[in-house]
Symmetry: C2
Subunit: 320 residues, 2 copies
């Protein structure tokens, strides 16, 4: 481990999310080893990462204080799991979303986990209680769920399992904060964690309004993009209540009854997002974004998220 | 009416929202007359508007192509309702949110409404069915609900009453689009319109998660601000589904069952946003934003909304 780095981080799994994690930790001046079982995949991934870091540098959205070249030097590849984990203080697993696969990988990693390491899974819906139960070191495991694309969207949901030690949670919070991510910590495992519980609540009401013929799919999306969304890029739902009156207590006195009356007229969550409605919506959305253009629209979205991330950083620096 | 303007708009009610509407329509090159029953209030308001337009010009966020001085010239005041409405093509009412008051004002305006005028209320929750029923010209009435601050958040919810003519709806869409607002059109009146139905769905789940001790108030807000919110500034909930898979039909095939399972574990909407929970949340939020600092935090928020609005405009121009 070089003297200048803050410590070593191991990334297990070299897909898109694994590559993002590698760049984020290198930006935060950690030494990174990224693991893949296939050696050719490892070198492909290192080339990708190098190209992306250079691109971010050219576009002015590279994270951290080091140059892209110096960050690239912090990232190594490995197809040997033992040497990948050796001396690491933090392990971020990002293999595909399957209980069986996660169990297999976690069991394999168990032998190399030490008392001050954390083993975090990037899983978006599987808590460690589902697959880490047989491990000797299960108290060092937890979920650290990023949001796509994590390089420009900093939230990470930390979800401890029933056996996760307080120390592992606190260490994860610290490490993620030190690289500029924004960790939140759930007190326990719940289905959907917090982000998807909120996201599905939104989709449920939008789905019901669409099925009720209340407004078009394009107009539903506009309500968010041109109405609620800009706020939510800067203030959350609770602070919104706080600011829309003289504090949140005053908000509830003034508006809780009205809100309750509105909620009484809401339909229950849809029984699945049904295929017929999905096809109806597609016949509308597909006119502006055909399925074949979804990949390029994702690039469009990510460019905007990068620009917003840069704006938010600029506004923060202005204050400090 | 001057030759150069696009027509005359009447603003009835000179509070904050009325002043925003005046500036928006002047930016769109309409001639504006803003009404208040108290002549002193009228001159105060005109001074305010002039000062704000100059400020926006200095800060580079003035809307439209005319200078602040030229826009100011387009705005007049009046404390005579007949002359305020004379020759107007569109009337935007923004008096306080009371059924009795709205009924009184609409009945008074009725005598001056012509067949090609639209009479829109800025109401955030009262449909015209509640107070326009006695009017001769009720088919020319509808809701045009803006979002605060409308100068930087373009959404307007158009909500027709049971008697509103198609022509009045279409004319409103056209006029609002011509000044750079982003109108959506509901097919009928529903409690909360669309925006608050979505907003309350979000608050409901956040409230339940907080009461369940799942995560702190600050962390709930972070899930939005650092996770979901940045997306929603650019793409709506339906497009998000579309992009998170190979189109929305594929999304539903892959994720609807999982989402449904998560939703099965959600509690029903809270019975009111109760005062005890509100006080708990305040004891946390109040540390960073005491109630006494809510007004200055609103300025902080609006500055960010202005900056995001400028960024979105810049990104749009880049494409065209």
């Amino acid at each position: 481990m070089s003297q200048s780095s803050k410590g070593k981080v191991a990334i297990v799994g070299s897909g898109l999310i694994g590559q993002f994690w590698a760049m984020i930790f290198a930006g935060g001046e950690y030494e990174v080893t990224i693991y893949d079982i296939v050696p050719e995949q490892v070198s492909k991934v290192l080339n990708n990462v190098q190209a992306n870091l250079s691109k971010y540098e050219r576009e002015g959205c590279l994270r951290g204080k080091l140059s892209a070249a110096n960050q690239t030097q912090l990232i190594r590849g490995s197809s040997d799991i033992e040497s990948c984990l050796k001396d690491a203080i933090y392990v971020q697993e990002c293999v595909p979303e399957s209980v069986d696969l996660k169990r297999k990988v976690f069991d394999q990693l168990d032998a190399f986990i030490t008392e001050d390491m954390v083993l975090a899974t990037s899983s978006s819906c599987l808590g460690v209680s589902l697959f880490a139960g047989n491990m000797k070191n299960k108290h060092r495991t937890l979920v650290a769920h990023p949001v796509n694309p994590p390089y420009f969207v900093p939230l990470v949901e930390i979800v401890p399992g029933p056996w996760t030690s307080k120390d592992a949670v606190e260490k994860t919070q610290k490490i993620l904060e030190s690289v500029g991510q924004s960790p939140v910590t759930l007190s326990k495992e719940v289905p959907g964690f917090a982000l998807n519980r909120i996201q599905y609540s939104i989709i449920n009401e939008c789905w019901n309004m669409y099925k009720d013929g209340l407004l078009s799919a394009a107009d539903i999306d506009k309500v968010m993009v041109d109405g609620l969304g800009p706020r939510y890029a800067f203030i959350g739902p609770l602070e919104t209540m706080h600011l829309n009156a003289d504090g949140i207590v005053d908000y509830c006195e003034r508006y809780a009854q009205g809100a309750f009356n509105v909620c009484q007229t809401m339909n229950p969550p849809p029984i699945l997002y049904d295929a017929d409605t999905a096809k109806d919506i597609l016949s509308e959305i597909g006119k502006s974004i055909p399925v074949s253009e979804v990949p390029s629209r994702r690039v469009w979205r990510d460019n905007r998220l990068a620009a917003l991330s840069a704006l938010k950083t600029k506004l923060k620096e202005k204050i400090e």
